[in-house]
Subunit: 495 residues, 2 copies
């Protein structure tokens, strides 16, 4: 083989992948299994491997290897892998190891304390931990900004959504702000007249779990290569070869956990179906967080909230909870697509959800750029919730700025991906329908496979082979186009 | 501080401890959670961290640091830590990194395949994997023998039981062989006349789990610092700060899983109560595997099979399974102390258990020393089972040489520790009774705390502060004395 530098990079990537495997499983375990007294040691252990991975990723040999590999005779896929390897190297190299470890430790501590502070509505207790996380995040943003020439917030967002900039998010979200409040009002008025039968609980957790597993099977999750467990904040972790999803159950709200499971299953199938021939190489990774969300939302919103899916859910609901008047397809569909401004992002319907994201984007951007401080968050939160959704959240930190895990862990710049993902998901389904005019009748007939096949061949199997805009064009014929999201909402809710 | 070399060793030990934390949790996860398709990647990841830990543990700086630290002004505990650090360094340094990784990989593969091969009684499928493990084990034994001047088997056993030699095991086991078969016969004859009421199953797994948790609480396990889960082969893993125990349930055999839980709780409490002031340093580790087994057997056999404990079990059995004629203290005690030669080591009573260990010790010693090959194992197993317990196991690999996880993972030299542990446990309780003549009446009154206090202060809190023989003398006034085990069995079963 005539590409020794590329081969050396390949071997180094594979080693990082193997060590990151341990990190991923232990991070999942922390959320899903770990007892309280294990936290201090786990935090130290995760900080140690964070530091070690950073040390390996910033070895001085990388730049020379990257440059020499660029001169070697590489195929297109190898060249894409080289591009992604260079991106990963740049990202790692922007930060000194002490900052990486300090950030990991501060995030672990803040997240762990938050688990008991949130139910206690203890903003005062949470604040010092959050301040430390924000302080380190600003240091990180500054260093990444210097390394990339981007603004501080853009430099953070680029870690989750390569190529996306706050200016474009503002443009897209600004347009959204224009029509969203009106749409919410119209939909609420229209739904006010609908007859709706609520399911009668309580819904025992073991039966909810069993139902969730059945729905995951329906959605094609491979249980030989992953699991579903519980955690305070649902997420999809682990590694592509062993996907660890979590959810949480509310015995009074059957559909919340169920649609959470549908959502995470979208993430899970993306990971399980990433290209295996490049396993352990950056080119095999999921393309970006917005694309990841486009998969969870393809499952939850496009497919899972499609009237055809409610028909498939009914027999499973009846199997696990017995017959109820509420378990009738049209009623289940109305329950799933019920629009109601609420306090909690992860429980929000797809129409009000973008309001939660716009709020978080505006606050976290100002926070990272140093325009506001942590103690300013509650007032801003209250004001924006009132403005966007007409809700008063004063004094309710638990269901306000303490509801999400992202900031506790220092994941600033992630939130826009949710709504960008919703837009991409609508774009994928618009493309599917252009290519197959029978898609909806197939879904009505219970055939979900065409959707999975499209997503697998266009998105999952591509990994990080292409930059996001090119991937979107190859998959759907155009780069991000928010018009599809608008059309989807108007068609589903006001047609 | 005037001990820079010692401080550097301390920091290096702490780093190894943090990385080994990830390894321990991921190894537990593999047994308790991991789906089948995750195994190949997990094996690679664990081999990578094995290799990395080995690389760190064999850094050329260690010998110089160890020598310089020995000249520094250290306290007794620091000096003990230095002794244990040197022992760990010697053990790590005996093996080249390639062998460490190859051994880890071969063990992972063999263990994983064994999980389905064992239920299928597939000795032919198991054999090639086992051969590879044995081949690498012999390489390891040879290198450790060269490094220590010990025989090959002694060099392996020394990893689990520092200071113990096959010659002493043979002496002790040889004496045991003299009186054990006669005792088994006598006890079986005597028990043949006893009236015994069997509990009526099936015993649903969730209720067994809940019962197990109650018994763990009774035995003082700290659930804020550990968990109990399920795996094919029960074990106690994790880290002292977060102990991960596992068990397995048989819906037709209530007491098997229950006494397994009692056993693992002994291991768990030892780990949870190791000296925290030296956390992460070798001197804080459990002293040896025989001492570890002496704790699990103090719980299972000395305490858990004491007539006073049966009285405490009865209300818990009734709570979880309702009243049954079998749930009467004297009957429960007879069930727990029932002696019956059987095929399965982990289900064996304390009287026949040593026979299983003698058999394994004799086979594994010959295997490691190259006197026999893997294909000879079944015939030897059959012959020894017939000789020691009068049982025919021909063709039954599943309940014969494939029943244990130890050899699949390459843990040769461990088995003697079980019976040495039983002997130490009897020795501890003999010492407790010498010091407190009221011990048995206290236990009858439901006071378990005196036992926990004795074990905590004499064994748990000592960690690896003393060599095993010295620890035994400090705790009980004498080094290993098998007479206590014999006296215990004769007194419990023939008095």
């Amino acid at each position: 083989m005539n590409k020794p530098a590329y081969q050396e990079l390949h071997a180094r990537n594979a080693r990082l992948h193997r060590l990151a495997h341990l990190q991923a499983i232990c991070a999942w375990d922390r959320a899903a299994n770990m007892p309280a007294k294990g936290n201090e040691s786990r935090s130290l252990a995760l900080a140690e491997i964070d530091g070690l991975l950073h040390e390996l990723a910033t070895d001085p040999a990388w730049p020379g290897l990257l440059d020499r590999a660029a001169q070697e005779d590489l195929g297109d896929e190898e060249r894409a892998n080289l591009r992604e390897t260079r991106r990963a190297w740049r990202a790692a190299n922007a930060l000194p190891q002490e900052l990486v470890q300090a950030r990991s430790l501060a995030g672990s501590r803040c997240e762990h304390a938050w688990r008991s502070q949130r139910p206690a509505n203890d903003w005062a207790g949470f604040l010092p931990n959050l301040r430390e996380v924000v302080k380190l995040t600003r240091q990180e943003a500054q260093l990444r900004a210097e390394a990339t020439g981007l603004s501080r917030y853009d430099a953070l967002m680029d870690q989750f959504e390569p190529g996306m900039r706050a200016a474009e998010v503002e443009r897209v979200f600004g347009e959204l702000r224009g029509w969203l409040p009106g749409l919410i009002r119209q939909v609420c008025e229209r739904q006010a007249g609908e007859e709706l039968i609520e399911p009668v609980g309580p819904f025992a957790k073991p039966a909810q779990k069993a139902l969730g597993l059945d729905v995951m099977r329906l959605l094609g999750f491979d249980f030989e290569a992953g699991r579903m467990d519980e955690s305070a904040h649902p997420f999809c972790g682990g590694v592509p070869e062993d996907v660890r999803m979590t959810t949480r159950y509310n015995e009074n709200d059957l559909l919340a956990a169920l649609m959470g499971v549908v959502h995470e299953t979208g993430h899970g199938r993306y990971e399980q179906n990433l290209p295996r021939q490049w396993l352990g190489q950056p080119v095999s990774h999921a393309r970006s967080m917005a694309l990841h969300e486009s998969q969870s939302l393809s499952f939850e919103m496009q497919l899972g909230s499609h009237p055809a899916f409610a028909k498939q859910l009914v027999p499973l609901l009846t199997k696990h909870f017995g017959p109820q008047p509420a378990f009738e397809p049209a009623n289940v569909q109305r329950l799933i697509t019920r629009v109601k401004p609420g306090l909690i992002r992860v429980e929000a319907d797809e129409v009000t959800y973008p309001a939660h994201v716009i709020l978080r984007f505006e606050i976290e951007r100002a926070l990272v750029e140093g325009e506001i401080e942590c103690e300013d968050i509650p007032a801003l939160w209250d004001a924006k919730m009132m403005e966007l959704l007409g809700l008063d959240t004063r004094g309710n930190y638990r269901d306000g700025p303490m509801q999400d895990v992202h900031w506790t862990e220092g994941a600033f710049g992630y939130f826009p991906c949710y709504t960008l993902g919703a837009m991409y998901a609508a774009q994928w389904f618009a493309a599917m329908r252009r290519e197959d005019a029978q898609l909806d009748s197939r879904l009505e007939a219970g055939e979900l496979q065409p959707v999975f096949d499209w997503l697998r061949s266009r998105i999952w199997q591509a990994g990080s082979r292409f930059e996001t805009a090119e991937l979107a064009r190859l998959a759907s014929g155009e780069a991000l186009n928010p018009a599809h999201f608008k059309a989807h909402l108007y068609s589903r809710y006001l047609a």
